[in-house]
Symmetry: C2
Subunit: 329 residues, 2 copies
């Protein structure tokens, strides 16, 4: 093995305690990973009568993060968040993650350590095992691809395609915090303390909420807000073949740092908040909070394919998806 | 969505006939992919009493392929081969693939088409569905990460770690063809016709053989030869805590183009042949061919941790792993 690969695998092994694959645990101790890092493929066990969820997400330097803006712990955390959030949006339970990681030859070891620390801390919080992956030397920049596999009871995954006219539309948490932070980073005016801007640097995947909404059969459809409210709502409406009306005043705007609420545009179009957008039938009682996070009704599904925004004045305007493209300028 | 992403997804959808996710196929028609491209995560069904296999493999421009050496069909084929070969080495049945693909802004559409054509043609041959993935714009070069998921009857995966002293060592097919072709490419002396150098440009993953060896309980341990015989044998011995003796004369050397057998060094150390290396108890009858491919006994597992090569003269020398590093110079 090339040296950086060997070092990385050794590091990953140490940090995950998967130093030796678990072999076959005949006892069926409930751990999903039967064979982890160190064989041609990993072996996982899916709970009975469950289906498998699989999602893959790139985190590329210069596209999804910048090394001079994002501490390595944040890059690792956000890398895994992207995958966990997709599992959350299906109402699933994450089981294991796989990391393909290509590193430039001259990358300091402490950067790799920080990256893995951030990723593995989040993995531990959700009892997700790092069960395998691939490593390579990157010709340019840090390249990561995270795979998260999860499970969901058979036939119960919450899809994007099952919203129905009359359903109410909800979001978790507050919106726009990540994009507003990015605007501050981009302005270059000051150094930001990641701890005060967690929605951007350490966003929380809404696993418990997605699980709860599926388990209690509240959500008819669901998507995570990774590309921005306007874009992800358009995905959901397209898959469900319906339209929507969003009430501008109802949109919960994030507060970042010590500032007031973020500008409306960040909440409407900013990506990478990793909140959930879901629909529920009009008569379904939806809790005000789930797992301590605010749930806000922000509009309703309509029959025609138009997506409209209702202004505080009562006027409605077209609500066009802006297409979040990370921080490409 | 950014335009290249939209175009790519549209292209992938057309080519896979997964234009619309299959939704829930209540009938249980045996197709593993319940929901494919187009939702937050894909939903797959694992056969009863089976475990899940997961493998991820990078294919990075400048590391695993070069655009002026490898036609796009070959890059797509080899990308998926890497994943399928890992599933083969576990004795598994591949079910679905996920492709994370980042493309430079200026990449010609016909290159993307060729890449997908090569990948999907191979996928079809093994009834593997392209069930999801991620797309991004790449700052530098084509970046692909392939995930293949497969299944294997519970507790029956063939691991690297179960070789036992006295077991005989076998390989499928012939070795060294891919590395010898690469040497020709590197020398730059002439243009190669990919059709005459298939072991490099279009290697065949040994799915049927791996499946057969597991199903008939022939193989005690197995690994695919992606990093070269010397390196992959060392992985197998390390995981099985044993050594090996290889008989130089027995090693089946590939023929490429119209040439004679490749040089011994290519067969001993060259990577990316994607043949299988496996062990079987001394008394087990191993067929001479499986699925039309030659199976060759090349040595035996020993108790001590040394890996030795027995020369035609009868002398034995240390058989050191050389560590295949693709075509990095």
């Amino acid at each position: 093995l090339p040296l950086p690969e060997r070092a990385l695998i050794s590091r990953i092994r140490k940090q995950t305690r998967l130093a030796h694959p678990l072999r076959f645990s005949k006892g069926g101790n409930g751990q999903p990973v039967v064979v982890g890092i160190g064989d041609d493929a990993s072996v996982l066990r899916i709970p009975r009568n469950h289906e498998l969820l699989v999602t893959t997400d790139f985190s590329l330097e210069g596209v999804h993060f910048r090394r001079h803006w994002h501490p390595p712990e944040s890059v690792g955390h956000r890398c895994l968040t992207r995958g966990l959030s997709d599992i959350a949006a299906m109402g699933g339970n994450p089981m294991a993650a796989f990391l393909s990681l290509a590193l430039p030859a001259k990358l300091p070891q402490r950067w790799v350590d920080g990256f893995l620390r951030g990723l593995l801390k989040l993995a531990k919080r959700f009892n997700v095992q790092l069960a395998g992956g691939d490593t390579a030397e990157s010709p340019n920049g840090v390249l990561a691809d995270i795979v998260v596999v999860g499970s969901v009871p058979r036939g119960r995954a919450v899809l994007r395609s099952a919203a129905r006219p009359g359903d109410r539309i909800y979001v978790t948490g507050q919106l726009g915090g990540s994009a507003a932070t990015l605007a501050l980073l981009r302005s270059g005016k000051r150094k930001l303390d990641p701890k005060s801007f967690r929605s951007h640097f350490f966003p929380a995947p809404r696993i418990e909420i997605g699980w709860n909404l599926r388990e209690k059969r509240i959500a008819t459809s669901m998507i995570d807000i990774s590309d921005g409210l306007s874009t992800d709502l358009s995905h959901l409406c397209e898959e469900s073949d319906c339209g929507a009306e969003i009430w501008e005043e109802a949109i919960p705007r994030a507060r970042i740092g010590k500032a007031h609420e973020v500008d409306l545009d960040f909440a409407l179009h900013g990506g990478e908040d990793y909140e959930l957008l879901f629909t529920a039938p009009r008569k379904t009682r939806v809790p005000d909070t789930i797992a301590g996070i605010q749930i806000t009704e922000i509009g309703q599904i309509t029959r025609n394919r138009r997506i409209m925004l209702r202004r505080p004045s009562g006027a409605t305007v077209k609500f066009e998806p802006r297409g979040w493209e990370h921080f490409r300028s």
